[in-house]
């Protein structure tokens, strides 16, 4: 009676599209990838922005398109629209990122407007005033969101005095930023040298390089290279409990150590993370969601930043099950760190990791995001083929060793945001607890880079599919 599940057909070799590359005299690197699936073009411009003033950078991303010598905000927006285009900017502690797209035929116009903004943005006082108020409003809204507050607390706990510790500005600091400060920040840091422009779309690669050079060769090089100190090692210790009175869920967060993409342990760590909680068919998700019903969208992600990598574990759980959910989380981490996984678990995770690499490259925006992210780490798309080979070669021993080294709960830090009066005593049964009030500072969620399939705003049932903004 039972019907057999059909086997998979032979696997396709990972197919990685070619990248054309040119570095202009001003130091701007241009990467062009042709994908003709739809008559559009995707643009990503990544500019190193380490150690730039946080409040200033945040406001700069909101006012970069507020006017140039010849064009107003409305002119810029209308001109972009006329070629089906739009541009926007966001920033993190490593870089500023301009993202956009347009109809393929509009590429020259898209680049002209980008070039105009990069070289002649004026930061008019009136527009800056408007955007400053809006930014303050958004910061206030972010402060009322539990996921944001939990993230703020986790970063502070993990990074201490490192620049990564605070990634969203104080409203009070934003209010102090003047147009003059924006102009000077722009002049100081928004420079061609070291920046990377990625173009992906239905245009011949040579033509994309030509157009980029034509539009952007006059953009100032200069700038200075700023390197962040390495992120500090995690300091395990008491669980941090952040009080959010009246919260009907607790936000569980853990940070565990990680390694950069080029580290020999990276592929094995990625697989170990998948087996633990990095995708739906993982031990942790099957346990706390599909068995116990404690949570909806738990996820565990290896998050890369230039100065360091961490593995972050996140779940929103009902207040009543906060203790048991944390216990199961530590249990699953500890179990994988101390006992090797089964062969079938590894093979399943491996296929998932390899398959989703291919899925992530199957759209113009996915390719653009990957190419831009990797380029920020000095890598090119051929890294994907090398990474696929390492994923293919990782053995059970490699994965068990990575799990023992990186997933041990004793090596991580834990933060819980929730109704402290209701959860403090049960958490105290499991670990020493240090209680804090909610920080008044906070910030806003940056415009998200398109995540590959399954990611995005919805707290997905398929947590690993989107991965972090930084991709695989």
């Amino acid at each position: 009676m039972t019907r057999p599940v059909p086997p998979l057909e032979p696997t396709h070799e990972l197919s990685v599209p070619e990248t054309a590359e040119r570095t202009l005299a001003n130091g701007l690197t241009v990467l062009a990838i042709q994908r003709a699936s739809v008559p559009l073009v995707e643009l990503r411009l990544r500019v190193p922005f380490a150690e730039a003033d946080l409040a200033g950078t945040s406001l700069l991303t909101q006012t970069l398109f507020s006017g140039t010598a010849d064009m107003s905000t409305v002119d810029i927006a209308a001109e972009l629209q006329s070629v089906g285009g739009a541009l926007g900017a966001g920033a993190d502690p490593d870089r500023l990122l301009v993202s956009g797209n347009s109809l393929a035929a509009g590429l020259p116009r898209l680049l002209d407007i980008l070039a105009d903004v990069l070289q002649r943005a004026t930061y008019p006082a009136d527009e800056v005033g408007t955007e400053r108020d809006r930014l303050v409003d958004r910061i206030q809204v972010a402060q009322s969101q539990p996921a944001h507050l939990a993230r703020v607390a986790l970063l502070k706990r993990v990074y201490g005095s490192h620049p990564y510790a605070t990634q969203t500005p104080e409203a009070a600091d934003v209010k102090e930023i003047s147009p003059e400060q924006l102009r000077s920040l722009h002049a100081d840091r928004l420079r061609a040298n070291g920046a990377i422009l990625v173009l992906v779309g239905d245009v011949a690669p040579d033509k994309m390089l030509e157009e980029a050079e034509r539009a952007l060769s006059t953009w100032d090089g200069g700038g200075r290279s700023v390197e962040l100190p390495p992120a500090p090692a995690l300091v395990p210790g008491a669980l941090t409990l952040v009080d959010r009175p009246g919260s009907v869920q607790s936000s569980l967060r853990m940070a565990l150590p990680g390694v950069p993409r080029t580290h020999p342990d990276h592929a094995a760590l990625q697989l170990a993370n998948l087996i633990f909680g990095g995708y739906f068919s993982s031990r942790w998700v099957e346990n706390i969601r599909e068995d116990k019903g404690y949570t909806y969208g738990p996820h565990s992600v290896v998050e890369h930043s230039i100065a360091g990598t961490m593995l972050s574990v996140s779940a929103e759980v009902a207040t009543e099950v906060t203790g048991p959910a944390l216990l199961e989380t530590w249990y699953e981490l500890g179990r994988l760190a101390s006992l090797p996984p089964k062969d079938a678990e590894l093979e399943q995770a491996r296929q998932y990791a390899l398959g989703t690499l291919q899925l992530g490259m199957s759209t113009q925006s996915g390719l653009a995001g990957l190419a831009s992210t990797y380029a920020g780490y000095g890598l090119r798309l051929d890294y994907l083929a090398e990474h696929a080979a390492r994923l293919g070669a990782a053995t059970l021993d490699d994965v068990a060793a990575a799990a023992a080294k990186y997933l041990a709960p004793s090596g991580g830090v834990t933060v819980v945001l929730g109704d402290a009066d209701k959860v403090e005593s049960v958490l105290g049964v499991l670990a020493p607890v240090q209680r804090e009030g909610v920080r008044q500072a906070t910030g806003l969620d940056e415009v998200a880079e398109e995540a590959p399939a399954g990611g995005g705003v919805a707290p997905g049932a398929d947590p690993a599919a989107g991965g972090s903004a930084e991709g695989a």
Binding site: V5, E127, R244
Partner: protein
């Protein structure tokens, strides 16, 4: 699994149609921009059991998108069972004829794929994106649950718990939860199907039984009530053969008669307000009824464009006026359908505008300004180039949606289900570019206060402190 695919602010406009837009009137200006269209080859057929199939080959990347869409959604759930369509969607992942609990997830992900499902007002979808070598396996998985999910008390209780956590994450534990998609329908509509909370009350969810689930499945999950779409790297002849092999013996079943959910248009303004204890800033959303998106597509399409004229980007009417000039709003968005999917919704539906206000913001003033601006379009028409550039940007959104193999599969599945015309996916850019200024002007003239339903979020947490 992902409750509702709803995040209107993030939703991008897309497009579709059965009746063709009439050739532009000589006297009126249309956008007259050349938006390049896609030309996906599309094949369709129906199996003897009633299952409709759409195939859209595209060999440009070795991946496939598989979507199964059932013609049942939030509007069809029974009274006393709010949230049931969504709860049932979760149960469709809990094992089936030949598959244990957890097996579906493992087979898809173990093939290198991703999956999800979502519940909408008028349909429920189940979908996967995978490397192309997983085609047959995926067809097996979808066919197996079309024959019947494993409905057990234990799985039901487990998924009621999971859904309650989903509601807590998306509605109860965050500011602006369910705004406006859960908050505005009860203001605008009077009948249960249109007005009720589609996520469901905890009481109703907890009252759900296995017997309810069984009868819901039998009524709405018939082969004749479903569409299967496969897009991407397939050979259509082989795919058709495999589909016949795996779905051919799913029992035949006819689609149930779909009730008419229509309600009369409003004749006087409706206003409602509630306090959100987590919200630091006021917000407001208004909705106006629009023509039937299926039966009156050519009359509906101008509203889709109008929403963008009003709110797409810094050059749009309402962003310029409310956000940049008057500073009476911090953000404003506009879209068609309560879930922001203009071409995946049936009648009755609406054009929505939603605004977040600065501290102490004046909702009445925002509404008056919106009236002024729509009136201005109705009286003075559009500026030179305004329609063309708006439509050009809409074209980009449409094309971008279909670049993803899954986006293409899902859109075509719903177009087939609601309009019997998946090929419309290729026509949408052209149809958009044929909307005329006269049509936009006429649509703007319909957004009058007496036809409006409005819901206001009042601040429960001034300053944003916890």
């Amino acid at each position: 699994m992902n409750g509702h695919a709803v995040q209107p602010e993030a939703v991008r406009q897309s497009t579709a149609a059965r009746e063709r837009v009439k050739v532009a009137l000589v006297s009126s200006r249309s956008a007259a921009v050349d938006i390049p269209a896609t030309n996906y080859p599309i094949e369709r057929f129906t199996l003897p059991n009633g299952l409709r199939v759409v195939l859209a080959p595209d060999r440009s990347a070795p991946v496939i998108g598989v979507a199964v869409v059932y013609d049942v959604g939030i509007r069809s759930e029974p009274e006393g069972r709010t949230g049931f369509a969504h709860l049932f969607e979760h149960l469709m992942f809990q094992g089936s004829r030949n598959l244990e609990k957890l097996a579906h997830f493992r087979y898809v992900q173990g093939a290198g794929g991703t999956f999800n499902g979502s519940t909408h007002l008028d349909y429920t979808d189940y979908f996967e994106t995978l490397p192309a070598n997983a085609l047959e396996r995926t067809l097996f998985l979808e066919a197996d649950r079309m024959r019947g999910p494993r409905l057990t008390e234990e799985n039901l209780r487990n998924q009621v718990d999971v859904v309650k956590e989903e509601i807590r994450v998306n509605v109860l534990n965050r500011p602006y939860g369910g705004f406006p998609w859960l908050k505005l329908p009860p203001v605008m509509f009077d009948t249960f199907p249109n007005a009720h909370d589609g996520y469901g009350s905890f009481v109703d969810l907890e009252s759900a039984t296995v017997a309810d689930a069984q009868s819901f499945f039998e009524r709405y999950y018939a082969a004749g009530n479903a569409v299967l779409t496969v897009s991407g790297d397939i050979d259509t002849a082989r795919a058709a053969r495999l589909i016949e092999q795996h779905f051919g013996d799913v029992p035949a079943g006819a689609a149930p008669q779909r009730p008419d959910f229509d309600e009369p248009d409003l004749t006087e303004e409706r206003r409602s307000a509630y306090v959100d204890r987590l919200a630091p800033l006021p917000a407001v959303a208004s909705a106006w009824r629009v023509p039937n998106p299926i039966e009156q597509f050519s009359a509906y399409l101008p509203y889709v464009v109008l929403a963008e004229v009003l709110t797409d980007g810094d050059a749009s009417r309402l962003v310029q006026r409310l956000v940049m000039r008057d500073r009476t709003a911090t953000s404003i968005g506009g879209y068609l359908g309560f879930m922001g999917e203009p071409f995946e919704t049936r009648d009755p539906t609406a054009l929505l505008l939603q605004a977040h206000l600065p501290p102490g913001g004046d909702v009445d003033k925002v509404l008056r300004t919106i009236d002024e601006e729509t009136e201005r379009i109705a009286t003075d028409g559009l500026a030179d180039g305004e329609l063309a550039r708006t439509v050009a940007r809409m074209g980009t959104h449409l094309l971008r949606d279909t670049d993803a193999v899954l986006g293409r599969a899902l859109r075509m599945a719903v177009l087939e289900q609601q309009r019997s015309d998946p090929r419309l996916i290729n026509e949408l850019p052209r149809l958009l570019s044929q909307v005329t200024e006269e049509q936009i002007v006429a649509a703007a003239g319909q957004l009058r206060p007496q036809r409006r339903a409005t819901v206001e979020v009042q601040v429960g947490n001034p300053g944003g402190a916890q």
